[in-house]
Symmetry: C2
Subunit: 572 residues, 2 copies
């Protein structure tokens, strides 16, 4: 993917990898490519002799070789700096480095690959305890979650029987895994991509949702800041993948950092104004960093991971993806499929979170699993669907990815507000419906309004009667458009009280007010608002208006043909 | 670009082109590529012997060779059908074919490369007369616009001195050039991409704007239908570029068709859910056709055309593009730069038409021109900017690419509506402002409302007083969200008349009503509506709200510190 980005800028690329048909060598034809390992000092020196700038796509390179290149080829720039790679490739050094720079981290400590040392660690950090190899670890290899001291020998065996240095991490019961790609320029400026939610399966990156949806409006800002600050502490240019844990109490800790384009940034190719690959190139070549903004409303990346030696199940998923709007298939051209090997990925983009899940669902439904039992496979897939792309609930229950939120001050407003829900159902707009009372649940009102946008809600429809404060109060807290429905609840003032309460908002805080009791129009207005970002909705709104026109035409004909004497007026 | 799309699907590609480092051979490494001309029968046969499916990226191939392949390699599928290429590569046959299938065309006729024949054509089709080579013509080569009979000899010389067959076309004074990419599946189903506006310079494609903006709401539907119908008449699968003229009276005629991915479809790589290249592959391989929807609000493609043997001026444009958000540079890796040669292109995407032009402007300002006079170069660039990316007008004049339209029933409403325009200026939202009276200009009302969306307007703010029909009537004609401002114009009812007229719309047609005379809130509401598709606006709205909070805090402090006895209330 990096070679592909380079070819668009006519930048000549020389690739060091084993074999003549390594993926990168396939997409960028050159007689200059080098056949060899990225741990081979001599091959690295050979590579350095052919280039102006040297970069890595994997951190497990031979750093001594890079240091040697620095001396033997002083004019070759190396990004990120060898020292950065040296720190990052040893996860314990990485944590020490980050800790020194006040980065939020879970507790960790050095351990020897010996039962007593590990036992000591459990006394300090508790059980379960995460044991990790300090080096050569990725995709969950080199991790062992120790649940009980009786498994210590098993852990040592699994982690290389003492041949590899270890360290221990306090196990953090995270609620979500987050990641932020950060671009660092040669001069040390940093720019960050949006926060994404990553989902791992069997310790390997499985799904990446962008952008992150959360009920905590400040979370993304906090996560991006932590990621940018962490990357600022390293030397050299390039893209860095910062993986983080979100804990129950909203705290964010850094899990680990990759000094290169990262799996959690693959979505940027289709979903952002500049891909992580283009930005990695730009940064190491001292070119301007490109915009990291999303250019689509929602996106998800699904890794295609081998479950056996056969590519067939992966090809089936790709074939299905070709039927899905917004799906882009990336196969890497790796020669052999193997269990646990990343053979490619699929990125989906969509106009909304709900539609994204609709597009993801058929892929999860045929995802290959390594289980041999058909029953187990089916169960596994069903679980995936339930977790990440649940089927739409019945029309009278809230959708998990609502675009519109219908709220009302009291359950007595429900009959007035139901027509709104019927219109949204008719237009297949995902929505939620609940009660938020400005006067009886003021403490619920504030976070509800404040976090609505971060949850992906685009429009709030609020119905209220009498001293109808709800729409205006919600509009005072959120920046989203709020549609107010004056409910005729008091007989004394016939709804005019509600209307005035809602429409006569002070300068600065608008509420889009519709007619008294007319929640139908509130929903239609909300759809018109959504149509400004989804042209298909505009077409459907125009169709709806033509349908109304046809209905009136039919009535005209009935009056014409039957005469007005016998004409019966139907009530709504 | 086709090879690139193929590599993502692990589809092996063999390329026939002259040279070892033709662009396509660079991006898809293979020892199988063939060095030779696409007019070389033997090389075409050699290519056929190595593949399952054979396609073309240029229509000037040797069709006899393709016919021979059909016989010698009956299992090799050829797309599009050789017969289709044969018809299309002879522009006169192409026109005859399209005419037979009732495609809208300008008048044309066969001519000999002789003065009398051409003179006869001018008598039938008038002057100026478009003379064209029937074959081997592209990028304006092989076209001669004959203005006067005295130039006939010049025309014949320019068009090959009788060595190439010619035909004549009635010159059509078009107002715009349009193009639609159409995908045709093996089974003959067709899908079309959005209509784009193409701009040619020196007869070569220069700019492509997607989607087309127009003041004629039905135009896109008509153009797509004509393009799809035309492509339906050809045999074989693949992507077709349909170039069209839009005449003054709204008539569309087909100019010509390309049986392959087309320059007017390059924007699809970054701007659509599936690129034209991916869809060309899918169609010729009998795979499902991908979604042709735009995934961004606005996009433009700028060709990078050589002006001399030097690549330097093109590199300058690319360097500038790297500074621009949403710009993707595509350099083709062609060995030699030449005047008139397409060396690459830049695609820009943006959240709005106005922002797209802002991003395009700096590129047009440094575009290389072939003029040797610095003064001429500067003039040429200035003209480009004026035509395609004019600088924003002064804040009290309408923007040429408005997102919001402020209208009012009477000039007497202007003082009430001006605060709306000030808010939009403060938020740098492109808008227009004009008078549309429901009662005094009903004939203007209808097309204004009907065409607003096609012009790119997203929200209409309508102010009206008294019997205030304007907002509701506009909402009854367009599917866009309409914000209504009740203007307190009659002293009798103090604006309540206007409020009721605007807010009490019947079920089916909503108007988002704000407080009486509160056009500030109308503008803020319109911005909130736009923020549903542009998250940056949501952040700015939240900042605006925090600023209001701060202002009140300052007042609180003033009351605290100075006491309320001396507190002076400032009026708005």
């Amino acid at each position: 993917m990096l070679a592909s980005a380079a070819s668009l800028l006519n930048i000549q690329t020389v690739i060091l990898d084993v074999g003549e048909d390594a993926p990168a060598k396939q997409v960028f034809s050159s007689s200059q490519h080098i056949d060899g390992s990225f741990k081979d000092q001599q091959k690295i020196a050979e590579l350095a002799s052919r280039v102006d700038v040297l970069t890595v796509e994997i951190e497990h390179v031979d750093v001594d070789a890079l240091d040697a290149v620095k001396k033997s080829h002083p004019n070759v720039e190396i990004h990120p700096a060898p020292e950065t790679i040296r720190i990052i490739q040893d996860k314990f050094l990485q944590k020490e480095h980050l800790g020194k720079h006040s980065t939020p981290l879970g507790e960790f400590m050095s351990v020897d690959s010996a039962p007593e040392s590990i036992k000591h660690a459990t006394e300090k950090l508790g059980l379960p305890l995460m044991l990790k190899s300090r080096t050569q670890a990725y995709d969950g290899r080199g991790n062992f979650l120790l649940h009980s001291l009786s498994d210590v020998d098993k852990a040592i065996a699994a982690l290389g029987s003492g041949s590899r240095p270890l360290y221990a991490e306090k196990f953090l019961p995270f609620t979500k895994e987050l990641a932020v790609m950060v671009v660092r320029s040669v001069s040390g400026e940093v720019a960050s991509y949006p926060v994404v939610e990553t989902v791992h399966k069997d310790n390997i990156c499985h799904l990446v949702f962008a952008p992150l949806r959360t009920a905590d409006a400040g979370l993304c800002r906090r996560a991006e800041e932590i990621a940018r600050n962490a990357v600022r502490t390293f030397e050299g240019a390039g893209v860095f993948g910062v993986e983080m844990f979100l804990l129950e109490d909203g705290t964010i800790t850094i899990n680990e950092i990759a000094p290169r384009p990262h799996n959690s940034g693959h979505y940027t190719i289709e979903a952002c104004e500049t891909s992580q690959y283009s930005n990695h190139l730009r940064s190491i070549l001292s070119l301007p960093i490109g915009s990291t903004s999303l250019k689509v409303p929602a996106s998800v990346m699904l890794n295609l991971i081998g479950v056996s030696d056969s590519m067939d199940p992966i090809k089936d998923v790709c074939r299905k993806a070709l039927e899905i709007p917004g799906a882009a298939v990336h196969l890497y051209g790796k020669k052999d499929c193997r269990k646990g090997r990343k053979m490619g990925h699929i990125t989906l983009v969509a106009p909304s979170d709900a539609e994204l899940r609709d597009r993801l669902r058929p892929l999860l439904q045929i995802l290959p699993t390594s289980s041999s039992s058909l029953d187990e496979q089916e169960k596994g897939r069903q679980k995936e669907v339930t977790l990440y792309a649940p089927v739409q609930p019945s029309p009278t229950h809230s959708h998990p990815q609502p675009l519109i939120s219908i709220i009302m001050g009291s359950d007595s407003d429900l009959p007035t507000m139901l027509p709104a829900s019927q219109i949204l159902t008719r237009f297949s707009i995902p929505y939620e419906l609940t009660i938020v009372s400005a006067h009886r649940t003021p403490a619920r009102l504030y976070p509800f309004a404040q976090n609505a946008a971060a949850r992906g809600v685009k429009v709030i429809i609020a119905g209220a009667g009498g001293a109808a404060h709800l729409p205006g109060m919600v509009a005072a807290i959120t920046g989203l458009p709020v549609v107010g429905v004056p409910v005729r609840s008091s007989t004394a003032l016939d709804g005019v009280d509600s209307l005035y309460s809602i429409v006569q908002m002070p300068r600065g805080i608008p509420v889009a007010t519709v007619a008294i009791n007319n929640s139908t129009n509130a929903a239609l207005l909300a759809i018109r608002i959504l149509s400004t970002s989804d042209p298909r909705l505009l077409t459907r709104m125009e169709d709806y208006m033509k349908e109304m026109e046809r209905e009136v035409s039919t009535k005209i004909e009935r009056i014409e043909s039957g005469g007005w004497g016998n004409y019966e007026v139907k009530k709504h």
